[in-house]
């Protein structure tokens, strides 16, 4: 069974035995951390209200985030998560609040985890334009068809960062365009082949 380290438990200790409303406020801070990163201003306000050091608040919020992350990384079921929370020191009522936090923010946690995976730039959009070059300084009479492609790629953003886009201007001719389509169609065909589908089923 998964258990939290002593250090992790230590960060969460200030939350044990606190009223449900206060824990819900901390859950909101944890969700905000997941989506936008740490917010020291909010932590300072909370620290003043509770008359504790701001560091205690920050570590408690990070402890909740870490709890959600560990739970998703290990794909804990509701009952496993319940056991983990109760054995860590939270009471029954707090466990219900944390379970709700865990269930309703799975997508956000998964997204945050994805950003740490090594990856190339990701496809975002493709726009095209068809031109025929009819003259240039070096050759007055010509008819050269060309498809200009604007390929937009995006960088998977880390938490706190905005998505960065990279626009690439490329060009190709009708023959190569036909070749590209043919080769990429092969990829799509292969994705729905028996072999690919069988492997996908195995890994799921």
């Amino acid at each position: 069974m998964l258990s939290l380290s002593d250090e992790h438990k230590g960060h969460l200790t200030p939350l044990f035995g606190q009223p449900p409303q206060l824990l819900q406020d901390f859950c909101r801070l944890a969700v905000d951390f997941l989506r936008r990163g740490p917010n020291l201003k909010l932590y300072t306000t909370a620290a003043q209200k509770l008359q504790v050091d701001v560091n205690v608040i920050q570590l408690a919020v990070e402890g909740l985030v870490q709890l959600m992350v560990k739970s998703r990384q290990n794909n804990l079921s509701t009952s496993d998560f319940r056991d983990l929370v109760l054995t860590s020191g939270f009471n029954e009522e707090q466990e219900r609040i944390l379970n709700e936090l865990h269930d309703s923010n799975k997508a956000d946690v998964d997204l945050a985890l994805t950003t740490f995976m090594p990856s190339l730039l990701h496809y975002h959009d493709l726009e095209w334009r068809f031109d025929v070059q009819v003259a240039s300084r070096s050759l007055l009479k010509q008819t050269i068809p060309a498809v200009t492609i604007k390929l937009t790629l995006k960088e998977i953003p880390q938490v706190e960062e905005e998505t960065k886009y990279k626009h690439l201007l490329l060009e190709t001719d009708p023959n190569n365009l036909k070749h590209l389509i043919q080769k990429l169609d092969e990829a799509l065909l292969e994705a729905s082949s028996q072999h690919s589908r069988r492997l996908q089923r195995i890994f799921k």
């Binding site: 998703r72 990384q73 290990n74 794909n75 998964d110 985890l113 994805t114 740490f116 995976m117 090594p118 990856s119 190339l120 730039l121 990701h122 496809y123 493709l126 726009e127 095209w128 068809f130 070059q133 240039s136 300084r137 070096s138 050759l139 007055l140 009479k141 010509q142 050269i144 068809p145 060309a146 498809v147 200009t148 492609i149 390929l151 790629l153 690439l168 201007l169 490329l170 060009e171 190709t172 001719d173 009708p174 190569n176 365009l177 036909k178 070749h179 590209l180 389509i181 080769k183 990429l184 092969e186 990829a187 799509l188 292969e190 994705a191 690919s196 492997l199 996908q200 890994f203 799921k204």
Partner: protein, 199 residues
């Protein structure tokens, strides 16, 4: 329309048409050397020195060679007909008919290659010439032990990047749905190209 050549080039052409300065044998060799130089980008006119060394007027041969290349390029740029070229050489460079005929034949043989080279001299984005792909299924990662997702790695191979830019490959990843989206957009582009080609 006739080629607009500088005074120096015109002087070289006039000398090339003069059999006293450039013998028939040197003329033929110069013509062959000129054609090779202009149709083979890596050719360095190595045999030009051997042509000029046999002649007492080496500088004239070199000048004529330069004029010949300029004439080929300018005529191809203007898409000059053989008749126009012949008339130009006869009237403006005082070439005899036999030499005009030989040059016109040489021009006819290499004009399409010269024009193909000239058409590439322009401002163009990198040209996609090939694509590589691989289909992947992500099963686990250091940050997420439970992840399962399919994705496609795509690599466009390009030509014609500005000098100094070595990276000819455009690499990216996409999901199958995104690949489908990209392919359908490219197919739409191809449909439009084929539609216009049939007009």
């Amino acid at each position: 329309m006739e080629p607009k050549l500088s005074t120096e080039i015109m002087t070289g052409l006039k000398r090339m048409g003069n059999s006293t300065l450039v013998s028939d044998e040197v003329f033929v060799k110069s013509l062959q050397c000129g054609m090779t130089t202009i149709t083979q980008p890596d050719f360095t006119s190595a045999n030009l020195s051997s042509i000029s060394s046999g002649s007492s007027k080496g500088d004239v041969v070199k000048e004529a060679h330069c004029a010949l290349l300029s004439l080929f390029v300018e005529s191809a740029r203007l898409d000059l007909t053989l008749d126009s070229l012949t008339v130009f050489l006869e009237t403006k460079a005082n070439w005899p008919q036999t030499r005009c005929k030989m040059l016109a034949d040489a021009y006819a043989a290499c004009v399409s290659k010269v024009q193909a080279c000239l058409s590439n001299i322009s401002v163009h984005p990198p040209h996609i010439v090939d694509v590589q792909w691989s289909l992947n299924h992500n099963t686990k990662s250091s940050s997420n032990k439970q992840t399962t997702s399919s994705f496609v790695s795509v690599q466009f191979e390009t030509e014609g990047l500005p000098e100094g830019q070595e990276d000819k490959l455009v690499k990216f990843e996409c999901t199958l749905a995104e690949l489908q989206d990209m392919v359908s957009k490219l197919k739409e582009a191809l449909r439009q190209v084929e539609h216009i080609a049939h007009i």
